[in-house]
C-alpha cells in the first residue's frame, strides 16, 4: 500500500496527502487512547470519593459500601478502565453518577450548544484576525498597526473572565442595558433561536482568541514581506495586489494556522469559564458540576470530547498548512 511520493506535480502528490492524512488520523487515535488512560487515571486521583460526594452527610459506612458497589467502584481499576474504554468504542460513555442517566442524554444538548458557540466564535475570529494581522503588517508602524498592537497586547493579557465580566457591566447591567447579561437557552431550545443572547459570550471568546492570532499573523506577514521571493515578485513588476495574494499571504498563513488550531482548542477549555459567566448551558457548566459531584463518567466524557477536539483541530491545521505551503506540499 505504501506509495513512494512521486516527483512534484505527479499523481503521487495527492496520494501523498491521502497517506499523510491517514497516518495523522492513526496517530490521532493513538493519542486519544493515551489520553483516555491519562484522563481515567486523573479522575481517579481527584480528591474525594464519588460515593461520599453523593451521600454527603448521610455517608454511613454501610451506605458508602452499598453505593460503591452499585457504581462499580470496588472493581480493580484496570477492569473499570477497560469497561469504560470498551463502552466508548461503542459510543456508550456510561451513566452519570449524580443524575442516574446515560451521559449521552445528559450531555447531548449541551454539546450542541457549546459546539455552536465555538463555531460562531471561530468563524468570526479567524478571518477577522487574519485580516487585521495582515493589514497591520502591511501598514507597519502606522497608526493602525500601533493601535492594534496595543489593543491585542491588552486583550491577550486579560483573562477571559475579566473580559466577560467587563462586557456584561458595559452592555448589560451597568452602563448600557441593551444586551442580555446571561444566555438562557430553554431546554429543547437551541442557541441560534435567540441570537441576541449569544452576542456577549461570543464576543468574549472572540476577544480571547483574536489577539494571539493577530500577533502571529502580523509577525509572519512581516517576515514574508521582507523575504527574497516577495522582493523578487515585486522586482518582476507584479502588481502589489498579486504579490500579496499569491506570494505573501499563503506563506504567512502556514504558521498562523498552527496558532489558530491551538487557540481554537484552547477555546474548548476557555469556554468553560465563559459558560460559567453567562450561565450558558454547555459542556463547561456540566464539567464544573460533574467535578463538584465527583461524577466521574461525565468528567471523563467531557475530557475526551475536548481531547478529541484538540486532535481534530491539530490535524486540520496540519493539513491546511500543507495545502497552503507549496514547499511542504511537494515534499510529501
Amino acid at each position: 500500500m505504501l506509495e513512494r511520493p512521486g516527483p512534484a506535480g505527479g499523481p503521487a502528490r495527492t496520494g501523498g496527502i491521502r497517506l499523510f492524512i491517514l497516518r495523522r488520523i492513526l496517530q490521532g487515535l493513538l493519542v486519544l487512547v493515551l489520553v483516555s488512560i491519562v484522563v481515567f487515571a486523573a479522575t481517579q486521583a481527584l480528591p474525594g470519593d464519588p460515593a461520599r460526594a453523593i451521600l454527603g452527610r448521610g455517608a454511613t459506612p454501610a451506605s458508602l459500601a452499598a453505593l460503591r458497589d452499585q457504581l462499580h467502584l470496588n472493581q480493580p481499576k484496570v477492569v473499570q478502565y477497560l469497561t469504560w474504554a470498551g463502552g466508548l468504542l461503542h459510543g456508550d460513555a456510561g451513566r452519570s453518577f449524580a443524575a442516574q442517566e446515560p451521559v449521552s442524554k445528559l450531555l447531548g444538548d449541551r454539546i450542541v450548544n457549546t459546539a455552536f458557540l465555538l463555531l460562531v466564535s471561530g468563524v468570526i475570529s479567524i478571518p477577522l484576525s487574519i485580516f487585521i494581522g495582515a493589514y497591520a503588517a502591511l501598514w507597519r508602524d502606522r497608526p493602525f498597526d500601533v493601535v492594534t498592537s496595543l489593543a491585542t497586547l491588552v486583550f491577550a493579557a486579560l483573562p477571559e473572565f475579566v473580559v466577560g465580566v467587563a462586557l456584561v457591566v458595559l452592555f448589560a447591567t451597568t452602563v448600557f442595558h441593551f444586551l442580555p447579561a446571561i444566555t438562557l437557552i430553554p431546554p429543547g431550545g437551541r442557541p441560534w433561536d435567540q441570537p441576541i443572547a449569544i452576542i456577549l459570550p461570543t464576543l468574549t471568546l472572540v476577544l480571547a482568541v483574536t489577539p494571539y492570532v493577530v500577533r502571529i499573523m502580523r509577525a509572519s506577514m512581516v517576515e514574508v514581506l521582507e523575504s527574497d521571493y516577495v522582493e523578487m515578485a515585486r522586482l518582476k513588476g507584479l502588481p502589489e495586489r498579486i504579490v500579496l495574494r499569491r506570494h505573501a499571504l499563503p506563506n504567512a498563513l502556514g504558521p498562523t494556522f498552527q496558532v489558530i488550531a491551538i487557540n481554537l482548542a484552547y477555546l474548548a477549555g476557555g469556554v468553560i469559564v465563559v459558560e460559567y459567566i453567562f450561565n450558558y448551558a454547555g459542556i463547561g457548566g456540566a464539567l464544573r458540576d460533574a467535578v463538584f459531584n465527583r461524577d466521574l463518567p461525565v468528567v471523563q466524557a467531557i475530557a475526551m470530547i475536548i481531547a478529541g477536539l484538540y486532535v481534530a483541530l491539530n490535524l486540520l491545521a496540519d493539513i491546511a498548512t500543507i495545502l497552503v505551503t507549496p514547499r511542504l506540499r511537494t515534499r510529501l
Binding site: 454527603g56 448589560a172 442580555p180 431546554p187 458540576d289
Partner: protein, 536 residues
C-alpha cells in the same frame, strides 16, 4: 433514625414548626389539643410596599443558587436548593407555618389534633383536588405518610415521623385519618408542617408524573437548567394563583445570577451575596428581601473526647468567641448573635438565659484551672454550607487571644469516615423546633450527634422523654427549659449566630413579606408562588 443522604441541604432551610405555640395560641392547655381554622393566613410581617394591585398572568422567572445534574422533583425530598423552589410550587403540606413561624391550619388539613399522647387525628378540608382533578382523600394522606416513613425511600421526613407506626395509620372516613404512634410524641404537628412532608397522591413515585395539590404543576424540567410550571386551573384556593407560569432557573454562579437580575432576565433571585446588596439597592426597580432565618453553623465539641471531656474547657471555648465580630465577618452582619442554644423560634426557647459574650480573662482562667494552658486543638471543617470554613478560621484567630492554638483542617472528605467521630468540628443545621432538633442531633439515637451529648450522668434523656409525653404546652416548656439549661451550662455546641436569608427581587413583583420568619428563601418562595404577583 433513618436519615437521608442529602438532608444536609434540606436542613439548611428546613422549617421548624411549633405545634406548642399553636396550642398556646389556640388557648388549649391540656388534654385533646386541637388546631382548627379559620386562622389568619399570614402573620404580622408586612407585605412589601411596592404599590400596585395584583395583576393576573405573566411568567415569573426565578433564579435559584446552585443546582446541577443531581436536581430532582419530589414532593417529599430535595437534593439541591432549586429542588426546594420546585417542590413548593407543586406540593402542599397538611399544616403550614405563617410568616411569624407559627403553625397554622392554612394547609390541606382542616384540623390536626392530639387525642392522646400517642394518638393524633387529621381531618382534611373538603373540595381539594390534585392537578389531575382527582379529589384529595384519606387514602392519599395514608400513602404519603407511609412513603415518608419508609426508610428505603431516603426521604427527609423519615426521622421526624419515627414515632409513627406506618401500619397503624387508620382511615376513619374519606377525610379523616388517625395516627397511632409507637410511643408518645408531641411533635407530630411540627412534622406535618415541614415543607418536605408534602402530600402526594396514592401511587406517587418520583419517576412518575408530578401530581400534587399545589398552585402550579410541572410542564417541563431539565436537571441543572430550568423547569417551567403552569398554573393549576383546578386550584382549591379560589382566585389564586396569579402568574400563568413560573420558570425556575438554576444558577451555579451567583455572579451570573445577580447579572441576570440587574439586566431584567429574572424577576427574583435567592441568596444575594453581601457584597452585591448595595448594588441591588442602587437600582430603583429592585429590592432586597431579608428573612429572619434560624440556620446555624455550630462548632461542635465532643463532650467525651479530650480535651473537651472537661466541662471547663468547653466553657472556656464558648467564652473565646466574639459573636458580633464573627457575624460581621462571616455573614456581613445579616443575622443575629446566638447563645449556644438552637431553635430560637420555638416558643419554649428560654430567652431568659443571659447572653454569653467574649470573656478572654475568664476563658484563660478556666483553661488554667483545667490544666490546659497553651491548649492546641484541631478543628475540622468543610465547604458544606456557606460560612462553615469562615467560621472555623475566624474562631482560630479569636482563640489566639486566649493562648489557644486552633489548627483548622478544611477537608473535602469531611462527611465520611471521620464525621461524628471528631473531637472538634464545624457542622450546619437548618431551622427546627427544639424537640425535633434534639431527635436529630442531641441524643444518642440521633443521626447526627456531633457532640456525643448528653453526659452519662445527666437526666437529659428522661427529660426529653417526659417532654414528648407532655401534652400541656406550658408544662412542656418548663421541661424544655431544664434541657436548655443543661446544654447552656455544659453542652458541646458553640453556636455563635443565626444567619438571615437575604434575597433580591424586582419591585414589579408584589406580595413578598419582608422580615418573614419563613424558613425557605424569598418568603418561602411567596408561599408556593400563591401570594405573589406582578403589580398592575
Amino acid at each position: 433514625m433513618a436519615d437521608t443522604p442529602m438532608e444536609r441541604l434540606g436542613d439548611l432551610t428546613a422549617s421548624t414548626l411549633t405545634r406548642r405555640r399553636l396550642l398556646i395560641n389556640a388557648g388549649v392547655l391540656a388534654g385533646g389539643a386541637m388546631l382548627a381554622g379559620p386562622l389568619a393566613a399570614c402573620g404580622t410581617s408586612s407585605p412589601n410596599a411596592a404599590g400596585g394591585s395584583p395583576k393576573r398572568g405573566g411568567n415569573f422567572r426565578l433564579g435559584v443558587t446552585g443546582g446541577g445534574s443531581g436536581d430532582i422533583i419530589d414532593g417529599q425530598k430535595i437534593v439541591t436548593k432549586p429542588d426546594q423552589a420546585r417542590l413548593v410550587a407543586g406540593f402542599e403540606t397538611l399544616l403550614e407555618y405563617d410568616t411569624n413561624y407559627k403553625l397554622q391550619t392554612t394547609g390541606l388539613a382542616e384540623s390536626v389534633t392530639q387525642d392522646a399522647p400517642d394518638k393524633w387525628t387529621i381531618k382534611l378540608k373538603s373540595g381539594i383536588t390534585f392537578h389531575n382533578g382527582k379529589p384529595l382523600t384519606s387514602d392519599d394522606v395514608i400513602y404519603s405518610l407511609q412513603r415518608i416513613s419508609d426508610p428505603k425511600q431516603g426521604l427527609f421526613g423519615t426521622a421526624g415521623l419515627n414515632s409513627v407506626d406506618p401500619n397503624n395509620i387508620k382511615k376513619v372516613d374519606d377525610r379523616t385519618v388517625t395516627l397511632n404512634l409507637k410511643q408518645a410524641d408531641s411533635t407530630i404537628g411540627d412534622q406535618l408542617g415541614q415543607y418536605y412532608n408534602g402530600i402526594v397522591p396514592v401511587g406517587y413515585t418520583r419517576a412518575g408524573e408530578q401530581i400534587g395539590t399545589g398552585a402550579y404543576k410541572v410542564q417541563s424540567f431539565t436537571k441543572g437548567q430550568q423547569s417551567v410550571h403552569v398554573r393549576n386551573t383546578n386550584y382549591w384556593r379560589s382566585g389564586l394563583p396569579y402568574f400563568d407560569t413560573v420558570t425556575i432557573i438554576d444558577f451555579p454562579d451567583v455572579a451570573a445570577q445577580v447579572n441576570a437580575l440587574l439586566s431584567g432576565q429574572i424577576d427574583a433571585m435567592t441568596d444575594i451575596p453581601a457584597a452585591q446588596i448595595n448594588v441591588v439597592k442602587s437600582h430603583s426597580n429592585l429590592a432586597i428581601l431579608e428573612g429572619q432565618g434560624a440556620d446555624w453553623r455550630p462548632l461542635c465539641m465532643a463532650i467525651d473526647m479530650p480535651p473537651f471531656d472537661d466541662v471547663k474547657v468547653r466553657q472556656a471555648m464558648r467564652l473565646i468567641v466574639d459573636r458580633n465580630a464573627m457575624l460581621q465577618q462571616v455573614f456581613s452582619g445579616h443575622g443575629r448573635i446566638a447563645n449556644d442554644l438552637y431553635s430560637p423560634f420555638d416558643p419554649a426557647y428560654d430567652s431568659s438565659l443571659p447572653q454569653r459574650h467574649q470573656d478572654i480573662a475568664q476563658a484563660k482562667s478556666l483553661l488554667h484551672s483545667a490544666g490546659k494552658d497553651n491548649l492546641v486543638v484541631d478543628l475540622h471543617t468543610t465547604d458544606g454550607a456557606a460560612g462553615m470554613v469562615d467560621s472555623a478560621n475566624i474562631f482560630a484567630s479569636q482563640a489566639k487571644a486566649a493562648g489557644v492554638t486552633v489548627n483548622v483542617h478544611n477537608d473535602p472528605n469531611y462527611y465520611g469516615d471521620q464525621y461524628l467521630k471528631l473531637a472538634f468540628s464545624v457542622d450546619f443545621w437548618g431551622t427546627r423546633n427544639f424537640l425535633p432538633q434534639v431527635a436529630n442531633g442531641s441524643i444518642p439515637t440521633a443521626p447526627y450527634n456531633e457532640c456525643h451529648w448528653p453526659p452519662k450522668d445527666s437526666n437529659y434523656i428522661s427529660l426529653y422523654q417526659d417532654a414528648l409525653k407532655e401534652v400541656n404546652a406550658s408544662k412542656r416548656a418548663d421541661i424544655i427549659h431544664q434541657m436548655q439549661k443543661l446544654e447552656y451550662d455544659q453542652g458541646g455546641y458553640i453556636i455563635p449566630m443565626f444567619n438571615n436569608l437575604v434575597d433580591a427581587y424586582a419591585t414589579k413583583v408584589g406580595g413578598f413579606n419582608n422580615g418573614s420568619k419563613a424558613t425557605l428563601n424569598l418568603d418561602s418562595f411567596g408561599h408556593g408562588y400563591r401570594s405573589i404577583y406582578f403589580t398592575a
